[in-house]
C-alpha cells in the first residue's frame, strides 16, 4: 500500500452557502485518486469543476466533508508536510527579494540563514535565475516569478508536488520552456506530481497518466488514460507524434461533452 504517495479516497467536499436560503454547493463528490511515488499525474476538466478544491484537499489546506486523504499510507490531518504546492497565481511575498523568497521554507524549518541562503542560491541557479536573487517580485517578469516560485517549492525537496495550473498565465513560448524544465527537474528526482490543468496538450505531453473530471457540481473522475509516450519528452516535439494525436482524440472525446456541459452551466448561471 505504501507505494502510493498520495491517496484521495472517496472524497466529497460540500461548501455551505454564506447567504442563508441558498443551497449548499457540492464541488467534489465521491472522488478517489491515487498517485504512486514518482508518478506524474495530470487532472483535466472543464473550468470551475473543482480541480483546485481537489488539490487543496490533497495539500491539507481544506478539510473534505467526507472521505480521507492518505500520505504514504498515513492519514492526513492538517497541512500536508510532505507536499510542495505551486499556486496558479503569484504566491511570492512582494516584500522579499527572489532569494529571500526561495529561502523562506528553509528558514521556517529552522535552518541557519547562511545555509538557507546557500541552498536557495543553488536552487535559483538551477532554474536559471542565479543573477536575479536580489530582485523583488515586481522587478521580475511573469516567467521569472514562476521560476522563483518553482525554486521556492522545490527547495524543500518535497516528496509530493502539487501544481495548480502553474503556467496558465504565461505566454506559449515561456510556457513550453518551463514545461520542459519542470520535466527535466522531475526526471532527475522522480517525485510524485499531481498536476492540475485545463490544457489537454500540456497534460498529455507531461504526464504518465491523465484523469478527466466531469463538469461541476459534484465533480468526479469519468476517465483515466495511461500516457505511454516514451521519455524523455520535449513538449513542443511530442505533440506531432501519431501516438500523441491518437491519445489526444481519445481523451478529447470524453472531455468535450463535459466542457460543453460546463459552458452551458456557466451560461445559465449568468442568466
Amino acid at each position: 500500500m505504501a507505494d502510493f504517495a498520495l491517496e484521495l479516497l472517496n472524497l466529497t467536499c460540500t461548501f455551505r452557502s454564506r447567504q442563508p436560503g441558498l443551497p449548499a454547493y457540492t464541488a467534489v463528490a465521491d472522488t478517489s485518486l491515487c498517485i504512486r511515488a514518482g508518478e506524474f499525474v495530470s487532472v483535466v476538466g472543464p473550468t470551475g469543476c473543482g480541480k483546485s478544491t481537489l488539490l487543496n484537499i490533497g495539500a491539507g489546506l481544506l478539510a473534505p466533508t467526507a472521505g480521507e486523504v492518505r500520505v504514504f499510507g498515513e492519514r492526513l490531518s492538517g497541512i500536508n508536510r510532505r507536499a510542495g504546492y505551486m499556486f496558479q497565481s503569484d504566491a511570492l511575498m512582494p516584500w522579499r527579494s527572489a532569494l529571500d523568497n526561495v529561502m523562506l521554507g528553509l528558514q521556517y524549518r529552522g535552518l541557519p540563514d547562511s545555509q538557507a541562503r546557500a541552498q536557495a542560491q543553488a536552487w535559483l541557479e538551477r532554474v536559471g535565475l542565479g543573477d536575479f536573487g536580489d530582485r523583488f517580485p515586481h522587478q521580475l517578469s511573469g516567467g521569472m516569478r514562476k521560476r522563483t516560485a518553482l525554486a521556492q517549492t522545490l527547495a524543500l525537496d518535497p516528496d509530493i508536488i502539487l501544481m495548480d495550473e502553474p503556467f496558465s498565465a504565461l505566454d506559449i513560448q515561456t510556457r513550453q520552456l518551463m514545461e520542459d524544465e519542470v520535466l527535466a527537474l522531475w526526471a532527475a528526482k522522480r517525485k510524485a506530481v499531481l498536476f492540475i490543468t485545463h490544457d489537454l496538450d500540456e497534460a498529455i505531453a507531461m504526464s504518465d497518466r491523465v484523469v478527466v473530471l466531469s463538469a461541476g457540481p459534484a465533480t468526479h473522475p469519468i476517465g483515466e488514460f495511461t500516457i505511454d509516450l516514451p521519455r524523455p519528452r520535449h513538449v513542443a516535439e511530442v505533440r506531432s507524434e501519431p501516438r500523441f494525436v491518437e491519445l489526444h482524440s481519445q481523451i478529447w472525446s470524453v472531455l468535450r461533452e463535459e466542457v460543453l456541459k460546463g459552458y452551458q452551466q456557466q451560461l445559465s448561471k449568468a442568466a
Partner: protein, 281 residues
C-alpha cells in the same frame, strides 16, 4: 512676444514661477500692511521675518530703516521647538506602536473585533481634540498631556491601516507560507507584520502630520512651553506678527517632517513597485 515665449510657465521654469507667486503674495501683503489698522489684524511680512530672525539667530541688528527699533538676537525658540518636536516624536512612536499592536490583535481575533466594533467606531467618530482638557487634568500641563492628545490622533490612523492591511493579506501568499511550513508565530512575523507595515507606511505622512497637530493644539490649550505656547502668549498681547511667525515656523517644520518621512519611506519600501520604475528596468 518672443520674450514672453521664453518666460511663459512651462516644465523648465516652474521654480522661478513658484517663487514669483510667493513674492507677489508677500508684496501685496506688505503694501496692504502700510495701513495701520489693517496691519493690526494682518501683521507685516517684514516684522514677521524680523521675529523669526530674533527667534533663531543670536546676532542683533542695529536700528535701521526697516526695523526702527533694531532686532534683538535672542535665539530663544529652540527650547520651545525642541519641546514641540519631542512631543511629536513621542506621540508618533507611542501611537504607531499601540496602533500596530491593537490592529494586529483585532484583525487576528475576529470575535474580539466583532465585540469591540461599535466602541472603536464611536471612539474614532468622537472629536478627540475635546479630550485635551481631560488629559490636562490627568497628566498636568507638562508634555505628557500633549503627547496623550496626539497619541489619540495617531493611534486610530495606524490602527485602521494595520487592521485593513492584515485583513487584505493575499490568501494565496498566506496559503503558500502555510504550505512551506510556517508556524503561527512565523506567519505573524513573515506575513502579517510585513504586510501591515506596508499599510502603516502608506499612512505615515498623515500620522506624522497629525502628531504635530496634536502637539501644537495641546500646547495652545494650556502649557508653559512649546511653539503653541508662544502663539498663545502672542495672541494674548495682540502681537499678530509673532502669531504669523509661529505659523510660518510650524509650517516649515511640518514640511521638513514630511520630507523626512518621504525619505525613510523610499528607503524601506523599495520592494513596492513605483510608477514608471518597471519601465525603466
Amino acid at each position: 512676444m518672443n520674450f514672453w515665449q521664453r518666460i511663459r510657465p512651462q516644465d523648465g521654469n516652474l521654480l522661478p514661477w513658484q517663487l514669483g507667486v510667493l513674492l507677489v503674495f508677500l508684496g501685496v501683503w506688505q503694501l496692504a500692511s502700510r495701513d495701520a489698522q489693517l496691519a493690526f489684524f494682518l501683521g507685516e511680512p517684514v516684522q514677521v521675518a524680523g521675529r523669526i530672525w530674533s527667534w533663531f539667530l543670536p546676532w542683533s541688528v542695529a536700528p535701521n530703516a526697516l526695523f526702527p527699533d533694531g532686532l534683538a538676537g535672542m535665539a530663544d525658540i529652540y527650547r520651545h521647538l525642541g519641546v514641540t518636536l519631542l512631543e511629536t516624536f513621542l506621540a508618533f512612536g507611542i501611537g504607531t506602536l499601540l496602533g500596530l499592536v491593537f490592529g494586529l490583535w483585532l484583525a487576528l481575533a475576529p470575535l474580539a473585533s466583532a465585540i469591540l466594533d461599535p466602541y472603536i467606531k464611536a471612539a474614532n467618530a468622537m472629536p478627540r481634540v475635546i479630550l485635551a482638557p481631560i488629559f490636562a487634568m490627568w497628566f498636568g500641563l507638562g508634555i505628557w498631556s500633549k503627547v496623550a492628545l496626539a497619541v489619540t490622533l495617531v493611534f486610530f490612523i495606524v490602527f485602521f491601516n494595520v487592521y485593513q492591511g492584515v485583513r487584505e493579506v493575499s490568501p494565496v501568499v498566506l496559503a503558500n507560507a502555510r504550505m512551506l511550513g510556517a508556524s503561527h508565530r512565523q506567519l505573524l512575523r513573515t506575513v502579517y507584520l510585513p504586510s501591515a507595515t506596508a499599510w502603516v507606511f502608506s499612512s505615515l505622512h498623515t500620522s506624522v502630520g497629525l502628531a504635530f497637530v496634536g502637539a501644537v493644539v495641546g500646547e495652545y490649550l494650556g502649557s508653559a512651553r512649546g511653539v503653541g505656547y508662544l502663539i498663545l502668549q502672542a495672541e494674548g498681547t495682540f502681537d499678530v506678527n509673532t502669531v504669523f511667525a509661529g505659523i510660518v515656523v510650524l509650517t516649515a517644520f511640518a514640511l521638513l517632517l514630511d520630507g523626512l518621512v518621504g525619505r525613510i519611506e523610499r528607503r524601506l519600501m523599495k520592494w513596492q513597485p513605483r510608477q514608471g520604475e518597471t519601465d525603466r528596468l
